[in-house]
């Protein structure tokens, strides 16, 4: 990330939001809102003094999954690029009651600017790659597992923070009470493969659950129980890793737990062991819920902004599942990573590389090849009713001065607009009414002869 941040040809607009995308491939006009972070990024050196001295210290850290705390002026996580803090208005004493301003007084560069406002930036770009990622499934929705009710039921990402040497416990895996757990249950498929939440498989959970089990085994003497529906360890070296975990003594129980209940200071995981064909109750000190992946909360808005479609599960839709895995319905807009579907790091890196290459190819050529069959409007016949504008799956049509105009770079020639036009004002080249009628008449004639 650091080398990206320092690259002369790459400009990172962090803490920013794309508000509008106009134009078409090669000529996109993008309006970006750079949100006010109340710190002048040009003056700030990232020394961290403000963060150290900020008196509002008890704010649960989002990055640590609420296990650690942060201050009101903060850098979200250690490797964040750029290394410039942001002030969280809702928790900042200066913004809440006008008193404090400690950071402004202490900053050796005078970089704190409480008056800073959002900035609008207009960019002209040729291609766009959307990589907005995913949201973690909110485990508290599965109430029978008691996430948010019992202290020692944690999400997989929280355990991830516990095992991190720079995390809130400096890498010590401990219960809420500060003890090292003697036993731990890892519950797979929380929010995945479940028709109550998401039907799809989140794909990465089996492997990260195995990894977490391995790290727990490594750092503690805890017994680890993995409750799974199916182990999905497809991928290079993955099955071997699963076998290694079996040898390391992790207990695998085939069955989705029914519930987690507290009993005698422990958490009892109730499940049916499908391999044994009987009910089991496993008392443990910690329960880890392997949360699934979901589309980002704002995926719908992002899809609208960039002219993307979404599949039934809410992730962004690629142009073709096999032949166009990084292209989208919008020419010049590419997707990569978990915003397209849940996927692990190797797959994400591969897809991101493919998206970057596809975008480069397009820009290197400097021109785009259009479909020969695209819609054409007879302006004299067009009544401007706009039926076709609504029908077009590619938003390639728009009303201009009372008639419809075709964006030739966006049109794919499907002809849905033709099917909708009441005035016969729009046609698709090579599939005109005359051509289809002639073809139909010919077809009937040959059938007559036969």
């Amino acid at each position: 990330m650091v080398s990206v941040g320092q690259h002369e040809n790459i400009e990172i607009l962090s803490y920013s939001q794309v508000e509008e995308v106009a134009g078409y491939v090669g000529n996109f006009k993008v309006r970006v809102r750079k949100k006010a972070r109340y710190v002048d990024a040009d003056l700030c050196t990232g020394c961290g003094l403000c963060q150290e001295k900020c008196p509002a210290k008890k704010i649960p850290s989002e990055f640590d999954g609420g296990l650690g705390t942060r201050t009101a002026i903060y850098i979200p996580f250690a490797q964040a690029i750029p290394r410039v803090p942001v002030i969280d208005r809702d928790n900042c004493r200066y913004f809440q009651n006008g008193k404090c301003g400690v950071c402004a007084k202490l900053c050796p560069r005078g970089a704190i600017d409480f008056e800073q406002e959002d900035q609008l930036v207009e960019l002209e770009v040729g291609t766009i790659i959307v990589t907005t990622g995913f949201d973690l499934f909110d485990c508290s929705r599965v109430s029978e597992y008691g996430y948010g009710t019992y202290d020692n039921v944690l999400s997989s990402l929280q355990l991830e923070r516990l095992v991190d040497a720079s995390g809130p416990t400096r890498g010590r895996i401990v219960t809420k009470e500060g003890r090292e757990p003697e036993s731990m249950a890892i519950v797979h498929c929380v929010g995945s493969r479940d028709k109550n939440y998401n039907r799809y498989c989140s794909r990465i959970c089996c492997m990260y659950s195995l990894k977490l089990a391995h790290l727990v085994k490594d750092a503690t003497d805890a017994e680890v129980y993995e409750f799974y529906i199916d182990m999905r360890t497809g991928g290079k070296g993955y099955e071997e890793f699963y076998e290694r975990l079996q040898e390391e003594g992790v207990t695998f129980i085939r069955g989705r737990p029914a519930e987690v209940l507290p009993r005698n200071g422990k958490l009892v995981v109730k499940a049916e062991d499908a391999n044994l064909g009987r009910l089991v109750e496993v008392p443990v000190d910690m329960v880890i819920l392997s949360a699934g992946l979901e589309p980002r909360r704002d995926a719908e808005d992002v899809a609208r902004t960039f002219g993307l479609s979404r599949s039934a599960d809410g992730f962004f839709l690629e142009r073709h599942p096999k032949l166009g895995p990084v292209e989208t319905a919008s020419n010049g807009v590419f997707i990569a990573g978990a915003c397209q579907a849940p996927k692990d790091i190797p797959d994400t890196v591969a897809q991101a590389g493919a998206a970057a290459a596809a975008a480069m190819v397009m820009m290197d050529k400097g021109r785009v090849t259009l479909e020969p069959s695209i819609a054409q409007v007879n302006v004299r016949l067009c009544s401007g009713c706009g039926e076709c504008v609504v029908a077009c799956p590619y938003s390639a049509l728009k009303l201009v001065d009372g008639h419809v105009e075709v964006d030739e770079t966006a049109c794919k020639g499907c002809g849905v607009c033709v099917g909708h036009c009441r005035s016969k004002a729009i046609t698709v080249l090579h599939f005109t009414d005359e051509q289809l009628l002639a073809e139909m008449q010919g077809a009937l004639r040959t059938l007559e002869v036969a």
Binding site: S309, S373, A391, C414, K424, V428, A443
Partner: protein, 135 residues
């Protein structure tokens, strides 16, 4: 009684390759159908369907991709709406709505294509020739 004449409109990305597959798999199907390729079943306008019947076709088959598979995102949804309305228009005009049928055939469903065509031909065979209706 003359053999029924049927025109099928098949979309480029699912149903037409489906028909191709039926062909290369040497699956037999009724010779009463002639296929016209369109880019998307959504292109098949109401007018095109009515004109086909007006020209004396005994049946019109519209073939598109299954829901969610449409190469053009949701063109087939538009087709489905249009055909549903058109069936009622046909009924109103005194033409058997069975003469128009919409089916989803994917590129891998060669067998299904043959089945659909055979079934539809049988249905049309039960109806009087369109020429008689038009006369």
């Amino acid at each position: 009684m003359p053999e029924p004449r049927i025109v099928a409109y098949a979309c480029t990305y699912c149903s037409y390759p489906g028909a191709d597959l039926a062909g290369i798999s040497r699956i037999k199907y009724s010779p009463n159908v002639n296929i016209i390729r369109v880019l998307c079943s959504g292109r098949v306008s109401a007018e095109l369907i009515l004109r086909t019947l007006r020209e004396g076709a005994d049946g019109v088959l519209v073939l598109g991709c299954h829901y969610g598979d449409c190469h053009f995102i949701n063109g087939n949804h538009r087709t489905a709406k249009r055909v549903a309305i058109l069936e009622r228009v046909l009924e109103y005009a005194g033409i058997e709505p069975e003469r128009l049928r919409l089916e989803w055939v994917s590129a891998s469903e060669g067998e299904r294509f043959a089945q659909v065509v055979d079934e539809f031909t049988e249905t049309i065979r039960q109806l009087p020739p369109m020429k008689q209706v038009l006369a």
